[in-house]
């Protein structure tokens, strides 16, 4: 796969702490890459530096191997979809979509007939042909975002940038638009760089996810990677619901790695146990949906005794907060099973499959506690 966009040691300083510090990553041609992070993580600033809307304080942006750090926005071959849609309120839907193409008439690269055909085609693609003559304020949020999408795509850019494009839509419209984006990406095979704070959206749409926090790139990997193989506790706790636990490694040759946890619980980990020394302090991740519980009555086989302190019924799943010696655990269970009958204050036995217990890389240890 060829790299289309690369950023090197990108930094942005507004005064105060660095908004983006030393972010380096490369985006492959045709890839759907998400920049995921909480607000203030530097994801939007990074995207805006790629677009040329912000000048990096330090570092460079490369497009197909060429340094474009100082190339003005208008001359970069990428289009952006804004969170607030940024439609031109003085122009109709049709004129909005045609805007980028009409600019090219003056530069002799397209004629009126072509514009008409292309705008019509893309309005069709986003199912807005019936609204071509309306003004932006006459459309719903979802329709406006589709206009903004058509306006970006109609000029056939190799790279499309999205700055939380679904952020101002309601939950149902978001889901519709997510499917639409996924379909468009599959059909157009363009490079999408997508900023979002919604981890489900990032994982569901992307080929790869870059997780940012405090202006730093924590991990870049497939959705599978960042979910199941986080490189640090911050990623583990940011994505999905995870239990991040501290313990001491017990290495016995020929046996799975054992970890003695602070509360006196002991977990075995078969996955990623290489390179851990006996007696070393380690950080474990145990996903909330991979914690198993059973009613305490009569059951003592290897588990940990815990008490349910909170129970939230969320529809397809139930979320439990458990109190165990020394710490707390979070757990999610598919609703409809026996768990439904557990309630607040019940005693339960907690177990974890050693294959699901993940030892986090060592460098991450000081960050835990967040």
């Amino acid at each position: 796969m060829t790299t289309i966009i690369e950023v090197r040691q990108l930094q942005k300083h507004y005064g105060g702490p660095l908004a983006v510090r030393d972010v380096s990553l490369s985006v492959n041609e045709g890839e759907f890459l998400s920049l995921l992070g909480a607000s203030g993580s530097g994801k939007t600033t990074t995207l805006r530096m790629i677009a040329g809307l912000e000048i990096p304080t330090h570092g460079s942006v490369l497009f197909r191997g060429q340094d474009i750090t100082n190339v003005p926005v208008a001359q970069r071959d990428m289009r952006m979809v804004f969170q607030d849609f940024a439609l031109f309120p003085n122009l109709t839907v049709w004129e909005n979509v045609a805007f980028g193409l009409k600019l090219r008439i003056n530069r002799g690269r397209i004629n009126r007939g072509e514009i008409k055909a292309r705008v019509g085609q893309y309005l069709d693609t986003v199912q807005l042909s019936a609204h071509a003559d309306k003004m932006p304020h006459q459309l719903s949020g979802g329709q406006r975002q589709r206009v903004s999408l058509a306006r970006a795509l109609v000029t056939d850019p190799p790279v499309v940038l999205f700055d939380e494009p679904l952020g101002s839509l309601d939950a149902n419209m978001r889901k519709v638009m997510q499917l639409e984006l996924k379909r468009l990406h599959r059909e157009l095979r363009k490079t999408f760089i997508y900023v979002t704070h919604d981890q489900e959206e990032a994982m569901g749409l992307s080929d790869r996810v870059a997780v940012l926090q405090d202006g730093q790139l924590l991990q870049l990997g497939t959705p599978d990677d960042v979910y199941f193989r986080p490189t640090c506790a911050a990623v583990a706790s940011f994505i999905g619901a995870a239990n991040v636990l501290q313990g001491i490694a017990e290495v016995v040759p020929g046996k799975p790695l054992g970890v003695q946890l602070i509360g006196g619980w002991r977990l075995d980990a078969t996955d990623s146990a290489a390179g851990v020394a006996n007696g070393e302090a380690v950080t474990l991740m145990l996903r909330a949906e991979q914690v198993a519980i059973a009613p305490a009555a009569g059951n003592t086989a290897g588990g940990l005794r815990a008490q349910i302190t909170e129970r939230l019924f969320l529809g397809e799943k139930i979320r439990y907060e458990l109190k165990v010696p020394g710490t707390e655990l979070r757990l999610t269970a598919i609703s409809g099973g026996d768990h439904l009958r557990l309630s607040l204050g019940d005693e339960v036995i907690v177990t974890a499959d050693p294959r699901h217990v993940r030892v986090l890389p060592r460098a991450a240890a000081p960050r835990v506690g967040a």
């Binding site: 208008a74 970069r76 952006m80 607030d84 031109f88």
Partner: protein, 290 residues
């Protein structure tokens, strides 16, 4: 909830409305009615004679010099409005889009407003000393040997009146245009650039069309204020730059022809109302919904 509550609220509202209504009646409604009443009368040996004749109103359009002075005043007003708009637009644009820090914004804002803390008369007089025969400009040009005799072309004519009026009324245009530009989200300008537009294209295709209502509102204010001005023509205008308000003052204080003065007032007010109505309509049509 008792049924008496809304009635009491209404009474409270009425109490709040009394002072402004009283103000409006005493200082605006009654004077306008009096103005209209005077315009229908006539004068005999410099004293007012009540009557109901539109003769004076007709004379505004028929007898010289009223109509030509009125047209000249309107032209000076229009040129002032154009000049003020041209000067104001870049300032308002900078203030709206290129001033990121709140402090810098405040400073520019202050610089625009501060001249209004000085009396108008003083400012108009200042222009007299700048443009006059012994003024700063002539002194400088003489010192630099650009000219041998003081220029007289720059004072006591329509040019000096327009210059002074533009200087005085530009802040109105700045504030009015700025208020409109401020409504345009920065992301719209970014989107335009992102789609490949140059700064000039963004300006002509997006920013200027969106700012038209503000430009129009500012131009109408400056036009109205400049057209009715009497200080600038009196101080820096010569015989050529007599404006309609100066004529009215002469009719009132020198000729004691109050009906004629009132008739001019009625015509000017009528033109003003018509202009504002048209501009309101155009502004409403041009106002984009964000």
């Amino acid at each position: 909830m008792s049924a008496a509550a809304p009635a009491r609220d209404r009474r409270h509202l009425l109490i709040w409305l009394v002072p402004p209504l009283l103000w409006f009646t005493v200082f605006m409604l009654i004077p306008y009615c009096m103005l209209f009443y005077y315009s229908l009368g006539s004068t005999e040996y410099m004293t007012f004679k009540p009557g109901f004749s539109p003769a004076n109103l007709i004379r505004v359009f028929r007898a010289e010099p009223y109509l030509s002075v009125l047209l000249k005043s309107a032209r000076i007003g229009a040129l002032t409005a154009i000049g003020a708009t041209i000067l104001a637009y870049p300032v308002a644009f900078c203030l709206a889009f290129h001033t990121r820090s709140a402090r810098a914004k405040f400073v520019i804002y202050l610089l625009v407003i501060v001249p209004w803390w000085a009396a108008y008369l003083v400012k108009a007089y200042a222009w007299k000393t700048i443009l006059g025969t012994n003024g700063i400009i002539n002194a400088l040009l003489l010192e630099l040997h650009v000219i041998r005799e003081p220029l007289t072309l720059i004072l006591y004519n329509q040019f000096s009146v327009i210059l002074t009026l533009v200087y005085i009324f530009t802040p109105f245009s700045i504030l009015s245009i700025y208020a409109q530009l401020e409504r345009i989200p920065t992301s719209i300008l970014e989107a335009s650039a992102n789609l490949g537009a140059t700064t000039f294209e963004t300006l002509t295709k997006i920013v200027i069309p969106l700012s038209l209502p503000g430009v129009l509102a500012g131009a109408i204010i400056t036009f109205a204020l400049a057209t009715g001005d009497f200080i600038a023509p009196a101080l820096v205008g010569g015989a050529d730059a007599i404006m309609i308000s100066n004529v009215v003052i002469n009719l009132l204080g020198v000729a004691f022809d109050w009906p004629m003065a009132a008739s001019i007032g009625i015509v000017v007010i009528g033109v003003g109302i018509a202009l504002i109505s048209v501009s309101q309509y155009v502004e409403h049509r041009a106002q984009a919904r964000f």
